[in-house]
Symmetry: C2
Subunit: 466 residues, 2 copies
């Protein structure tokens, strides 16, 4: 081998052994020190470099641990036979992927997000803080795969009392987001299962099934929701529906249709209904519509809910209620998955329930969103003459059917040009052949203030009146 020519820098912050280690490693990598060549003895190198033997020993040990050199008994250290040439890059690459430039809207009728002024920051902050304490060893362990038992009990009580859901804590699985729950379900069911989704429906559903390589079929709706005849024709085994407030059309599925779907499920052992109750907390007139699951007497409904609308989407806590026999299957097949929600968050949410904060927050938000919806409906009726409002008096969005001669695309684009973001309904269709012919747009109202809603509708009036 070439002689070791490193000059150790005694003034450097870098320890001497590390300087030596890095030097030798570099020489090995760039090929200056040949394979199988012998390294100087520790004593000899220490004397030559005028450092302690300990420095050489530490550098050699590290090279040995990483496999750059090998030690042969009673002979010394040798450069390992390293195949291939390495180029260790010195620096990180520069930022290579540009975010798309984001168009700056004045007002967005987003259907994702909550009221910005009403999140219970003070309470949540205190509860979350208090949930972290040194006497709670559960914060340092992997928890129950189904999620915190106390939280599951609170959710079960809430679902029973407010949504008429039949459940116990043992039947609940907590996860982070509907998409994760669906992935669990896809893994729970047999590989050849076919899934039916509402058309139009929640945009991500088809992406989740596609990405998970599960077969899915969009099934058309009529005014009452997903059509049982079409469902039967689709050959699906599992149907995903939003009966409390169909997304995006906003209709409530009448009891008749619910029973028809339950009967469909009852006709075959393989069949199940996935009920996504995504914004059922918000109904502004009359009592809440009870869940479809509560009508089910044959254990065929999987009930899914989340705290994305009721608290905030960034909390990432969702849950599902499984039929009893699926709980057993879940245990056998999937309980190795760790619950993805941090323990502190689960504990905090349970405290939030137990202190009655969740109920109070919901009651408060119901009033706030009701006022927003009323303001929006009032402004639309007042300012937009060619528009019909669709959907039930519920949820966090409305659908407008617009008869002013513009196409959906023109409606969306002219709104955008006036700084307003609205969502064309056709993007929620997985199969456009069944699409309603009247141009329609979706307007979410949760994130806008009442005066913003007024201003935004005024801008829409201008945009849509030429």
């Amino acid at each position: 081998m070439n002689s070791i020519t490193v000059r150790l820098n005694y003034q450097s912050d870098k320890p001497l052994y590390q300087q030596l280690y890095e030097y030798i490693k570099k020489e090995i990598i760039n090929g200056s020190f040949k394979n199988n060549s012998k390294l100087p003895s520790k004593r000899g190198l220490a004397a030559y470099l005028q450092c302690s033997q300990n420095t050489v020993q530490t550098a050699y040990s590290q090279l040995l641990a990483e496999g750059y050199i090998t030690s042969r008994q009673r002979s010394g250290y040798y450069v390992s036979a390293i195949d291939g040439i390495l180029n260790i890059k010195e620096d990180c690459e520069k930022k290579e992927i540009k975010n798309n430039e984001k168009y700056k809207y004045k007002y967005e009728f987003s259907h994702d997000g909550v009221d910005f002024d009403s999140f219970p920051f003070l309470i949540w902050r205190k509860i979350l803080k208090d949930s972290i304490n040194e006497y709670d060893h559960s914060l340092l362990k992997t928890g129950d795969p189904q999620g915190d038992e106390n939280l599951r009990r609170s959710i079960a009580n809430y679902l029973h009392d407010s949504r008429g859901v039949n459940c116990t804590a043992e039947r609940i699985i907590i996860s982070s987001g509907t998409e994760f729950l669906l992935q669990l379900l896809i893994q729970l069911f047999d590989e050849d299962y076919i899934y039916a989704i509402e058309n139009p429906g929640y945009q991500k559903l088809n992406m989740i099934f596609k990405s998970s390589r599960a077969e899915y079929r969009p099934v058309a709706l009529d005014e009452y929701g997903l059509m049982p005849d079409e469902l039967l024709k689709s050959n699906a085994d599992v149907v995903c529906i939003t009966p409390s407030h169909q997304f995006p059309t906003g209709t409530i599925m009448p009891v008749n249709r619910r029973i028809a779907l339950l009967n469909w499920a009852g006709d075959d052992l393989r069949r199940y209904i996935i009920e996504d109750d995504y914004d059922s907390e918000f109904k502004y007139a009359g009592r809440p519509i009870p869940s479809l699951q509560g009508l089910d007497t044959s254990d065929k409904v999987i009930y899914i809910g989340s705290f994305s609308k009721s608290l905030t989407p960034s909390i990432r806590i969702s849950y599902m209620v499984l039929p009893k026999h699926l709980v057993r299957r879940y245990y056998e097949k999937l309980s190795f998955y760790i619950c993805p929600v941090p323990a502190a968050e689960q504990k905090a949410l349970n405290t939030f329930f137990e202190g009655g904060h969740f109920e109070r927050h919901l009651n408060r938000m119901r009033n706030i969103y009701k006022a927003k919806r009323e303001a929006l409906v009032y402004e639309v009726n007042n300012l937009l003459p060619d528009v019909k409002i669709e959907g039930a008096n519920a949820g966090l969005h409305i659908v407008l059917k617009i008869n002013n001669g513009m196409t959906e695309q023109q409606l969306v684009t002219s709104a955008k040009n006036s700084g307003i973001r609205v969502f064309g309904l056709s993007q929620y269709y997985f199969n456009l052949s069944v699409q309603n012919s009247t141009p329609s747009v979706l307007l979410g109202f949760a994130t806008l203030k009442i005066d913003e809603i007024k201003k935004a509708v005024e801008l829409l009036k201008k945009a849509w009146s030429n």
Copy 2:
């Protein structure tokens, strides 16, 4: 229809309209009110029941919304044609699934969990509390699908400086747990990809692949780690390895073997290496072993890490660094998945990094775990004569090879009978034909105190000396 015989209770907490609504609904469900029969007029019923018309109106509206009755223009309200008989269950089922009775060990040499006395409760509590404030609208929105950008930047810096990983924030995906990252990768790669896993290896890996319906092959190890020849024979496209500290054997993969695997990956466009750096933070002698990813010059390594060992498993934050071209593919195919980690937690972890707390915590934990490992090694060498300790001076577990004539099962059972939990190595083999013949057990030491380690090894001595 039968006449309406409800007796409204004016003393009840339940509003009158709700009493009426519930009564009519019940009569419809149990069939007393026949399909298509006409309901009394609002005025007539109000007069009959001596309540206000408003009460009847509200009850009818709710029944209408739920589809139990329909309204016919200029005619009135009719019972809907409801097919099928419903039994609405009144009560939740009782707890139906018993948790397995848990055996109570005196001491568990668990490899899951962290030191109970050293989590920075005070700091984390304060930081998490401060992360929740009303001026931060990001807490009320769905965040970046890859995870909080600031946190990704902090992780990139950390990985670059301490693990020699080539990366930028743009290449990092934050998720909750290695299993979720692997599911993303399975969806990112083509359906026909075959995955190689270390044999022995991390138990959950095969379950994740199996459950996701991905083909996988266990590939045998020699003293340097996974064998390239066997890998080639397996026909796999992607190999999952733990080069910094193989789980469970504890060996560090030498640079030679690393290069052989990089060359394997370089030989085919389809091939990738998944490097799981699960406990690389803890090396107790010499410098840390740089990541395999840092050696990679052809963008073939996916680097995975988490905070389960360095902070706590219950925090549920993990990340992966993707090769550049896979970042593009991720954007196209999978960016619809919302990052499952709560926004507040991500923000808090970033503050923890930026304040230097993470580095300080790691340095502290390294000393604590080093002392625990030394105590364990000392006691084992001192008290267990027929035992050889395997694995590098790193990580949070050691492996014992035991030559006292007992089988692995006997070792585990006799330890259990003395109240000590140890883990037989054979449970980490996916294919026992390649298993090492010497009975071996795995001992994790992170959760035990030093005096507990001493007592536990003393009990092991008794258990294993008959």
